[in-house]
C-alpha cells in the first residue's frame, strides 16, 4: 500500500519539477543508452564474425609460408608452388581439396577510366571452398586454364555499372595489358572469416592465365578443406611434414578454431572497453541524479517536517526519496534502453550487420538503472530522513 502511494507521490513530485527531472533523466538515458548500445554492438559484431566462419565451415585450414624463417635454412628459396599444393590431397590423407591462390594489384581500364584493383589467380576449387555463389554467368572451370576469362566481385560490378556498362557478362575489360572477358558476377560475400578480401574487391582469373602475366607471382595461401574424420591437429601435422619432407619448407597452418578463439578473446576485451566507457557515462548520470535529489530534499525540507509531524518515521522519509530516485532512474533506464536499442539498430543498418536484441543486456540495463537509483539516491534520502523535524518545519 505504502509502496504504491510512494510511487504515485514520486511521479507527482518528479512531474512537479519537470525541468530538473528531465535534466537528470537525460544523464541516465545517455548512460544506460550507451551501455546498452555498446554491449549490444559488441555482441552483434562477435556473432557476425563467428557467423562468417560458420558460413565457410570449420573444416578449413589456411596454409602459408612461414614468414619469419627459423627452422630450415634452405627454405629461403623454396616456395609453395601450384604443383606441390595440388599434390597435397594425394600426399596427406586428411586433405580433401585444395585451392591455392595468389593476388596481384594492377590497373584496369574500362571506357577510358583507370583504377587499380586486385586480381586473384585461382583454380576452379576456389568456388566450392569459399562457398561462392554467382549472380550472373558461370564460375571459372578447369577447362578455362590459360583463357583470358574472369569472374568479377561486387565492387568491380558496381564500378563498371557506374562507368556506363550495361551488359557485364560477355563484355571485356582491360587488366594490365590484356583484355579479359567477364564470364560471371559473384554475389557479395561476407568477410572476416578465412575468405580472402579480394573476392568482393577484385577480379578472379585462372591461375595459369595470371601466372603468365605475372611470372614472378608467389602463392599467397593455400586453402584446404579437410576430409571428415581427421582432427585439425592431425592434418596440420601431415601438411607440415609433407612440406618439410619434399621442399624443406616451413609452413604455417591456421585453423578457424584458433582464429575464433583469438577473436573471441579480442571481442571480450572490446566489449569490456565499450562497457567501461558506457559505465563512466552512467556514473556521471548517477551523480546528476544525486544532485537533483539533494536539491529536491533541500527544496522540500518543510514538506519533510510536515510529514514527520504527521507521523512519518525516518524510514518512511528515506523510503520516499529513495523511491523517487529509483523511479527517476527506472524511467531514464527504460528510455535509455529504447535509445540504446535504436542506436544499435542504426549502427547495424549502416554496417550491414544482422540486428538482434540481446535480452540479457536489456534486463541488465533495467537492473543497472535501479541500482544507480538506489546507490545515488541513498545519500540524499538519508539526508532527508536525518533532518530535525522542528528545523524542517521552520524552514521556508
Amino acid at each position: 500500500m505504502i509502496i504504491r502511494s510512494n510511487i504515485i507521490e514520486a511521479v507527482n513530485s518528479l512531474t512537479g519539477a519537470k525541468q530538473r527531472s528531465i535534466l537528470a533523466l537525460i544523464g541516465i538515458i545517455v548512460g544506460i543508452g550507451s551501455v546498452i548500445a555498446m554491449v549490444s554492438v559488441g555482441s552483434i559484431v562477435q556473432k557476425e564474425a563467428l557467423q562468417k566462419f560458420l558460413e565457410m565451415g570449420t573444416d578449413i585450414v589456411m596454409i602459408s609460408k612461414k614468414s619469419t624463417d627459423t627452422g630450415y635454412r634452405k627454405s629461403k628459396n623454396q616456395e609453395i608452388t601450384l604443383e606441390n599444393a595440388l599434390n597435397l590431397p594425394a600426399q596427406c590423407p586428411g586433405v580433401r581439396i585444395v585451392a591455392p591462390f595468389f593476388s596481384k594489384y594492377e590497373t584496369f581500364k574500362f571506357n577510358g577510366k583507370k583504377s587499380t584493383i586486385p586480381a586473384l589467380g585461382i583454380t576452379s576449387s576456389f568456388q566450392s571452398i569459399n562457398k561462392l555463389t554467382l549472380k550472373q554467368g558461370r564460375f571459372l572451370h578447369s577447362l578455362d586454364e590459360n583463357m583470358l576469362y574472369c569472374v568479377i566481385g561486387e565492387k568491380v560490378e558496381k564500378k563498371l555499372l557506374s562507368l556506363g556498362a550495361t551488359k557485364l557478362v560477355g563484355s571485356r575489360i582491360l587488366f594490365k595489358d590484356k583484355y579479359f572477358t567477364i564470364i560471371g558476377i559473384l554475389q557479395r560475400v561476407s568477410l572476416g572469416g578465412m575468405r580472402p578480401f579480394e573476392i568482393n574487391e577484385g577480379i578472379m582469373a585462372p591461375f595459369s592465365t595470371l601466372k603468365r602475366i605475372f611470372p614472378d607471382a608467389k602463392i599467397k595461401q593455400v586453402m584446404a578443406r579437410l576430409n571428415s574424420g581427421f582432427g585439425i591437429l592431425e592434418v596440420k601435422e601431415q601438411i607440415q611434414s609433407y612440406y618439410k619432407r619434399h621442399n624443406r619448407l616451413a609452413v604455417t597452418v591456421r585453423s578457424p578454431e584458433a582464429l575464433i578463439g583469438q577473436m573471441k578473446k579480442q571481442m571480450r576485451l572490446f566489449t569490456l572497453l565499450l562497457g567501461t566507457i558506457g559505465s563512466i557515462s552512467l556514473i556521471v548520470g548517477g551523480i546528476g541524479v544525486m544532485n537533483v535529489m539533494l536539491v529536491s530534499v533541500t527544496e522540500r525540507t518543510r514538506e519533510i517536517g510536515i510529514r514527520r509531524a504527521l507521523g512519518a518515521r525516518k524510514g518512511d522519509i528515506q523510503f520516499q526519496f529513495l523511491v523517487e530516485s529509483i523511479v527517476l532512474c527506472f524511467i531514464g533506464g527504460i528510455i535509455g534502453i529504447g535509445i540504446g536499442v535504436g542506436a544499435t539498430y542504426i549502427i547495424c543498418y549502416y554496417a550491414h550487420w544482422q540486428f538482434f536484441i540481446e535480452y540479457a543486456s536489456v534486463a541488465i540495463g533495467v537492473g543497472v538503472a535501479i541500482s544507480v537509483g538506489i546507490f545515488f539516491g541513498f545519500y540524499p534520502a538519508r539526508q532527508a530522513a536525518r533532518l530535525n523535524p522542528i528545523m524542517a518545519l521552520r524552514s521556508d
Binding site: R4, N12, A309, L310, G311, P389, I390
Partner: protein, 237 residues
C-alpha cells in the same frame, strides 16, 4: 520555581499529559539559551486549554515537546502515564501519527496535493489504502465544512479554508489530542473566530483534548482554562 497543576491540585496518574520540571536549553554557537526553565503542567483528557504568551517566551518549544517533535533537556514527560523518554524514534512517530493532530499557524498543507490528499496524508503512514483514505478524508472534510473544496489545491483556497482543511487533516486519524500553534494567527478576526468555534465544537462533540497556543486573549478566554507563559515559566492564571 512555581509548581503549577491544572486543574486539580494533586498529581494524578490518569492525567493524559504530565510535564514535570521540563527544561529546554538550546546551544546557539557558544551561547546557551534556556528556553524552558522548569515547566510543570498536567492536562486531562477532554480539556480545552490554551497557553498564552508573547512570542519568544517558549510556548512553541513547549508545544514541540508535548507534540513529541522535540525532547526536553531535563525533566520528565509522561503521556498516558508512560514516560516518553523511553520511546524510540519510530515509536514517537507512531504516537504522533495515531494520538496527536497538529494544526499550524501557516497551515502547512502540501501545495502539490489536493485538499483531500492532504487530509489523507497521516493515514498513508498507517498503510491505509487510497480508497479508504479518501473515504475517511471526505468524512472529516464534511465535518469542517469543506466537502465542496475536496479536490482543490491549497493555493485555490482562502486562509480560513486552508486552516479548515488542516484541521480535517489533524482529526482524520481520530487522535486523542490536537495541538494547535497559533491556529488563528494568520487569519482575520472573523475567520479566526469561525476556526475557534470549530475547535470548541470538536472538543465538545468528539471529546478531543485541545491544546491551543495563542497570544490572543480573546481566543484564550473561550477555552475551559488557560495558562500564561513568561520567560520559560508557566504561570497559573
Amino acid at each position: 520555581m512555581p509548581d503549577f497543576q491544572y486543574p486539580t491540585n494533586s498529581r494524578v496518574m490518569n492525567n493524559m499529559i504530565s510535564l514535570v520540571n521540563i527544561t529546554k536549553t538550546y546551544e546557539i554557537g557558544p551561547v546557551q539559551v534556556e528556553i524552558l526553565k522548569g515547566v510543570n503542567l498536567n492536562i486531562e483528557a477532554g480539556e480545552l486549554i490554551s497557553i498564552v504568551g508573547q512570542s519568544g517566551c517558549g510556548k512553541s518549544t513547549l508545544m514541540n515537546i508535548i507534540g513529541l517533535l522535540d525532547t526536553p533537556t531535563s525533566g520528565s514527560y509522561s503521556l498516558d502515564g508512560r514516560p516518553v523518554a523511553d520511546f524510540s524514534d519510530n515509536k514517537l512517530s507512531e504516537i504522533r501519527n495515531r494520538k496527536i493532530g497538529f494544526v499550524f499557524q501557516q497551515f502547512n498543507l502540501l501545495s502539490r496535493l489536493t485538499a483531500l490528499q492532504n487530509v489523507g496524508l497521516p493515514l498513508v503512514y498507517r498503510g491505509i489504502s487510497e480508497s479508504k483514505r479518501n473515504k475517511a478524508g471526505m468524512q472529516v472534510l464534511e465535518k469542517v465544512g469543506m466537502l465542496n473544496r475536496a479536490l482543490h489545491r491549497p493555493t485555490e483556497l482562502s486562509g480560513g479554508q486552508q486552516q479548515r482543511v488542516a484541521i480535517a487533516r489533524a482529526i482524520v486519524g481520530k487522535p486523542a489530542i490536537i495541538l494547535a500553534d497559533e491556529p488563528t494567527g494568520a487569519l482575520d478576526t472573523k475567520v479566526g473566530q469561525e476556526i475557534m468555534d470549530l475547535f470548541i465544537r470538536l472538543n465538545q462533540d468528539e471529546k478531543i483534548t485541545l491544546i491551543l497556543i495563542t497570544h490572543d486573549m480573546e481566543i484564550a478566554k473561550q477555552c475551559s482554562g488557560y495558562v500564561r507563559m513568561q520567560d520559560g515559566i508557566l504561570h497559573k492564571n
